[in-house]
Amino acid sequence: MAVMTSALAREQYAALARMRLQMLSNSLRLSGGKFNLAARIFRIVFFSTVGLMIAVGLGAGVFAIARDNQLRILPVFLWAVMMLWQLAPIALASFQEPVDLSLLLRFPVSFGSYVLEYLVFGLFDTSSILGGFCLAGIWTGLVLARPDLAGWAAMGMLLFAAFNVLLLRMIFAWIDRWLAQRKTREVLGIIFLFLLLGAQLMNPALYGTRERPSRKTIATMKQAARTAESVQRALPPGLAAGAVQAAHQGSAAAAAACLAGLVLYGVGAGSLLGIRLRAEYRGESLGEAPRVTAKVQERRRVLELGGPIGAIVEKEFRYLGRSGVMLYSLLAPLIMLFVLGRGGQTGGAERFALPLGAAYGFLGLTRLVYNSLGGEGAGIQLYFVSPTPFRTVTLAKNLVQFVLFLFEFALVVAIVVWRFGLPDRQMLELTACWLLFALPLQLAAGNLLSIKMAYRMTLTRLSREQGAAGNGLLSLLIQLAIVGTGAVVYFCLRYLERPGLTVWVFLALALGAMATWLRGLANSDRIAMRRRDVLIESLAKAE
């Protein structure tokens, strides 16, 4: 601890803070830098607003249960917060922008300082903002109803927040490690599969069937709920809630014991994170030089496509197959759809499962489409010195993206059919026509952003990208606009009692989108040539 607060360490923290400020101020010289800063501010404001809204809801709920002496329900709120905290990064995988501190290792930075900087730098990520607001809301609700609990509740919420930060960092640090190596990536894939199957098996238990469950089933479920309730008391949300409950009952010792338990969980998560950070601190690199994936099986003639287009398509698939991170990004939305998509009849909302699933599934392709050159590194120069026009490169990448989307969409359809049954014919037609409009437009926008707002992607780490904020925000807004256009057309025509026109409007929009894509493709040579120095600077110089 002394090393972390030594004069040298303090100087280093100050130097780091100054360096970050200088980098920020230097980046503002470029329009891209200004946009990135604006995107970061927007992200913080947006998620703070969302967090605040959820916090108000949670606070009101907790106020009500605390006022009515129903604090035994408190764990439900804390479990919800923990789920949000831990799952938000998966759902928003394409829009994260954490920090690479490995450059610090050349300096005499102590391990304690390295850990501290690692924790502090990522403190304002999306999940921390959301989770932080939620816990603040819960605390406020509690204190408004029971001012005497302010101290215990504050300690409980703070420790719970610290545990969540450590747990999230620990999980992502280890996933990074596992995704970087083929063998562990395969093991991780199998674990994911079992988790999905487990979640699927839970589904009937959670949502039931149309028939009324038998008494035996109800009894079994009640027993399971009781067991789960007793188990959860020993888990972090239960312990945080337990501290408040015990304090409410006047048992300071029990409250302190709960907090101590929470500290132990924090230490556990921190220790596991520490193992990973210690390895990084000792110089382990997961960057561009994985150890086991290096021994790849060389396969000649993956596809029998000729010429530059075939070469690029093959190369793209090879890159994808060797990047656990990209595979994870591709599958993350499907995992969320699979786990969280509620099956059965839910009052008509399931009708939109297919288009919503397709739109959500596209999130997995966001970085591949909107930053399609990000993985090239210094190799980007090859496209400019070779006799292959840039539009050919763009076309080949679009072909790969199209195939990947078809694959993603096929999985979405499979999940939707499994969870909700066959979609009705009209919705199937509408979704297909909407996709004819959405897909070319996404590709056109992606091609443009890939050239104009490219940032370097590290294909072996989940989250080590600088300059991704602007691209991430714009790509999100474009996707929202495309989904929004579909929704507006559908609901407006339904309101006007002309639903039959929807297909035709989508087809007309599809023609426009196709023309936009073709025009963009034809112009990509010119745009890329004009921006090639900036593009090379962003992708190659960072290596």
């Binding site: 790849v296 090879r318 120069q381 090859l382 070779s386 006799p387």
Partner: protein
């Protein structure tokens, strides 16, 4: 760059020198289509060269600054990729890939990703990629930087072989001994301006005249001495001392 004009004759091994920041890499970038000149014209093989001169690019090979490698491919995959980007038939690409990997001693670890290559191996692979399509003109930006003696020997053998077959090579390097040994002609730029250009003999004669030397003394002038003389920094000049070192 400031009013830079020079020409390289076919079949020449041309060394392009200059201190750090003089504009060597910028010049190569402009000559290979990686950077748009704000003014002036570039001619390669008698044709005006722009970034869209795709036919000309087929006859040009480049090892740019940063080497333009795709780190997540194996060496073999990368060479096959480059060959196809230059429009070679698949069979030709495969044959040349195998030959190049053997020549460069890179065939021993065919499954290794480029990311795991040493710096010297990466340089060799970058050079292999630059020549896979049999270019008539080769631009090399610091091909010997960070390369050990064995790898440098391989590279030199290959480049000399290309010159014998009539190719033209344009090379920048900070290793003046190598330039002196390989290049028949040398240009030196300083702060974006061309300050010397000609055969090594011409440059020696010019510097000897300015120093008032002749005969054996002129012949003994090394490229390093010529370089220092031309860019105005003598090897024996007093260097300001750092008080804390």
């Amino acid at each position: 760059m400031d009013d830079l004009t020079f020409s390289v004759a076919p079949g020449q091994f041309f060394g392009f020198l200059g201190p750090n920041g003089a504009g060597k890499s910028t010049t190569i970038k402009m000559l290979t289509g990686l950077l748009e000149p704000t003014a002036g014209e570039i001619e390669i093989l008698g044709h005006k060269f722009t970034a869209s001169s795709f036919d000309l690019k087929r006859q040009v090979g480049v090892v740019p600054e940063g080497m333009a490698l795709l780190n997540r491919l194996t060496g073999s995959e990368y060479l096959r990729f480059v060959g196809r980007m230059y429009g070679l038939a698949r069979e030709t690409t495969n044959r040349r890939t195998d030959e190049l990997l053997g020549f460069m001693s890179l065939a021993n670890e065919p499954k290794k990703l480029i990311a795991d290559y040493s710096h010297g191996m990466q340089k060799k692979l970058a050079l292999a990629a630059a020549v896979i399509h049999g270019p008539k003109v080769l631009f090399l930006d610091e091909p010997f930087e960070g390369v050990d003696a064995i790898a440098a020997g391989t590279l030199k053998t290959m480049l000399q072989g290309m010159i014998h077959r009539g190719a033209t090579i344009f090379l920048t390097s900070h290793v003046l001994e190598i330039v002196e040994r390989l290049c028949s002609h040398v240009a030196i730029i300083h702060k974006g301006r061309l300050v010397a250009n000609g055969s090594l003999e011409d440059l020696r004669a010019g510097v000897a005249t300015s120093l008032g030397e002749s005969g054996a003394a002129e012949e003994k002038l090394t490229l390093e001495e010529i370089f220092f003389n031309v860019v105005g920094a003598g090897a024996g000049e007093p260097v300001q001392e750092l008080s804390w070192l």
